[in-house]
Amino acid sequence: MSRIFVHGLGAVSPAGWGVPALRDALKRNSPVQAQTMVRPGWKKPLHVRPVPEPVSRPVFFDHPRLRRANLIAQFTVAAALEALGKNVSLVQGGRIRLGIIVGVMAGGVNYSRRFYEEVLQNPRTASPIIFPETVFNAPASHLAAFLGSEMISYTLVGDDGTFLQGVAIAAQWLTDGKVDACLVIGAEETDWIVADAMKLFRRKTIHGAGAGAILLKKDSGSGAIAELTVITDSFPFTQSQSRFETARRMRAHLPSCAPNELLCCGEQDAAENAAWKDWAGARLAPKAILGEAFVAFAAWQCVAACESIRQSEFTAANISVVGVNQQAVGARFLACADAS
């Protein structure tokens, strides 16, 4: 059996740019301040948790492919570069065969909405610059171009659990020797149309934006942060399988509570809460702090969990994802003896 290790973490979130900002916000354990967003046609604004402006402008913003790119692409690249760290030059130099997997649910919705509004006004003048940015795989494409990586790249679409599906595919590519390393990224951006749609289902949930990234490799050597030991089956929400049943089955695939283990969950879902009611250990529930950011949220869960292992706060972390409308899926990371 091949063993898979986490070698890098990256995050862009409503708490700021970088894993330290994410970690600080979770440590403070108080919700990041929500911002108002104009909802056309409404007197009252919507509330969202966007990503704040970076403290200093990242150099990669000047790359020709990223100058006009949508926010979700900028978040994707920032999180990816942080996770890659010193590996960036190895990828750019062709010394690492890097696979890229980006998971999204709403995707590049700013430009999609803007382009379609232009089409409704007059399709003759709809912008050919915006349209290509509306495809789901635009962020992955920009990232690959920035890194000069011509290896395989998938963009996956689905709910929060899509991030863990992406991690499973990355593990498969690594196990099969298809790539030397693989980045898995979850990314979303805020837009009034998404916040508006979310209010139809969960009135109190606040839509957030950003990206989370993990870098996976097969080797356990220098730089390994944690070991991926389990990704449960994905249990889809079907006619014959309720959210409660899927959450229960996902939870059954993960071990019982042990001392010094962390549970990183959503905590805003009755099915998930029921599945984990026996958990007596530490819990981290970033959704109330950061907002609902779909696939990016599941990525932050993994990043936060692995970071807590890196900081030696826990020896193991379990990830519970009961998604918005598709699936329940979980994962488990362990501290690795060889980690530096």
Binding site: Y116, P123, T175, D176, S240, Q327
Partner: protein, 415 residues
């Protein structure tokens, strides 16, 4: 478990992967028979667009599907059926044909891997229009939100055939369908599963039509891939679904085999978001990787189903890549683009063209491009222009998408 891999997994990829069911919906018709007749004759299915207003667009034609009045009988409830829109219906019809042909039964943990570029985008368009025009009206909006999303179409398949399993949606632009099939192939080959439902689907919608028109990528006349005077693509819509199994699994249940998938290559062209690198390096590498995966050389490929969109850039690049990949053998290599019949089906293209390859391999004929006027001199290979019977054992299908997503699949005749 999605990870670690099951104990019978094999990183060397020793499992052979076969197709035991195929379903297809295009503007040529519903089902294998009608599409095989259409592709074999090189018939094109283009007509004026009726689904949305194109009066202010440069192009006014596409390959629209005539959907049947009734959907096939499945386990979907009447309430669920009445919420389905075009993309979901086409996907369901194609899946039903493949499922029935394969003779599969409902099981736990059957993976679904499907590709699409926009899911049920028409619902998204309707949502935005109502949200802007009637900001306080919620009428039908929750249904639009749910059914707009691609994962719902995957869940509809689970519900229709009463199975459960991971639903993976690949959205790699116009290579989505090919990437989905390729990923399913690799998953089976490595022993991570025994059978997978896979394919691609996309329906026509105003956003993508206007988008390609804004790029001046649409032709006002039926597309002519690899023509010296080609001037753009013609959009289409449809779905194609394959039931894939390991050969061992298919043999155990005495399943009829339609063909074998032997190779898959996927690369990323980093040149530009919408334009391929003029030298076609990533396309060349995708074809070369697929051949390496299948352990064959280009000389052993008897037919290439090209991506062949009929845009000046794509066909020029693909010609360069095929010339380089096939070298001296190119002059004897039959190539055609079935987009000249069905249009460009975006996320469904790779899956529909995979089925076209299976049809050609089973029927021993080559799909022609009858609309071609004058072949682009950049093509060193033979373009199939007339319906022709031919003994072919292997076929390669190319799919290249926005964002530089490139994929090649190789199919082998069975037995």
């Amino acid at each position: 478990m999605l990870f670690p891999a099951p104990k019978n997994s094999d990183p060397t990829g020793a499992n052979r992967v076969v197709v035991t069911g195929a379903g297809i919906v295009t503007a040529l018709g519903i089902g294998w028979q009608k599409n095989a007749e259409g592709f074999r004759a090189g018939r094109n299915a283009f007509r004026p667009v009726t689904l949305f207003d194109v009066s202010r667009q440069r192009s006014k034609i596409a390959a629209e599907v005539d959907l049947p009045a009734e959907l096939p009988t499945t386990k979907l409830s009447p309430n669920s059926i009445c919420r389905l829109n075009r993309a979901s219906k086409m996907l369901l019809i194609a899946a039903h044909e493949a499922w029935t042909q394969a003779g599969w039964n409902a099981v736990e943990n059957l993976p679904v891997v499907i590709g699409t570029t926009s899911g049920e985008m028409a619902f998204g368009e309707n949502y935005l229009q109502q949200a802007v025009r009637f900001p306080y009206s919620k009428k039908a909006q929750p249904t639009r939100v749910v059914h707009y999303q691609a994962q719902q179409q995957g869940l509809d398949l689970c519900n229709a055939f009463d199975f459960s399993g991971p639903v993976t949606i690949v959205s790699n632009a116009c290579a989505s369908g090919a990437n989905a099939i390729g990923h399913a192939f690799e998953t089976l080959r490595g022993g991570h599963a025994e059978k997978i439902l896979t394919g691609g689907y996309d329906s026509l919608c105003q956003l993508t039509f206007a988008g390609f028109d804004s790029l001046q990528a649409l032709s006002p006349t039926p597309c002519r891939p690899f023509d010296a005077q080609r001037d753009g693509l013609t959009l289409g819509e449809g779905a194609a679904i394959l039931t894939l199994e390991t050969l061992e699994h298919a043999r155990k249940r005495n399943a009829e085999v339609l063909g074998e998938i032997t190779g898959y290559g996927a690369t990323t062209d980093t040149h530009h978001l919408t334009q391929p690198h003029p030298e076609g390096k990533a396309a060349f590498t995708a074809m070369t990787s697929a051949c390496a995966c299948a352990k064959i050389s280009p000389e052993q490929i008897h037919y290439v189903n090209a991506h062949g969109t009929a845009t000046p850039h794509n066909d020029a690049t693909e010609s360069v890549a095929i010339n380089r990949w096939a070298t001296d053998y190119a002059k004897n290599l039959p190539v055609s683009s079935t987009k000249s019949c069905s249009g460009h089906l975006l996320g469904a293209a790779g899956a529909v063209e995979a089925v076209a390859c299976l049809m050609a391999l089973r029927g021993q004929w080559l799909p022609p491009q009858t609309s071609l006027h004058k072949i682009d001199p950049a093509c060193n290979f033979e373009i199939v222009r007339q319906p022709v019977d031919k003994k072919i054992g292997t076929a390669l299908s190319n799919s290249f998408g926005f964002g530089g997503a490139n994929a090649s699949l190789i199919f082998r005749r069975w037995p």
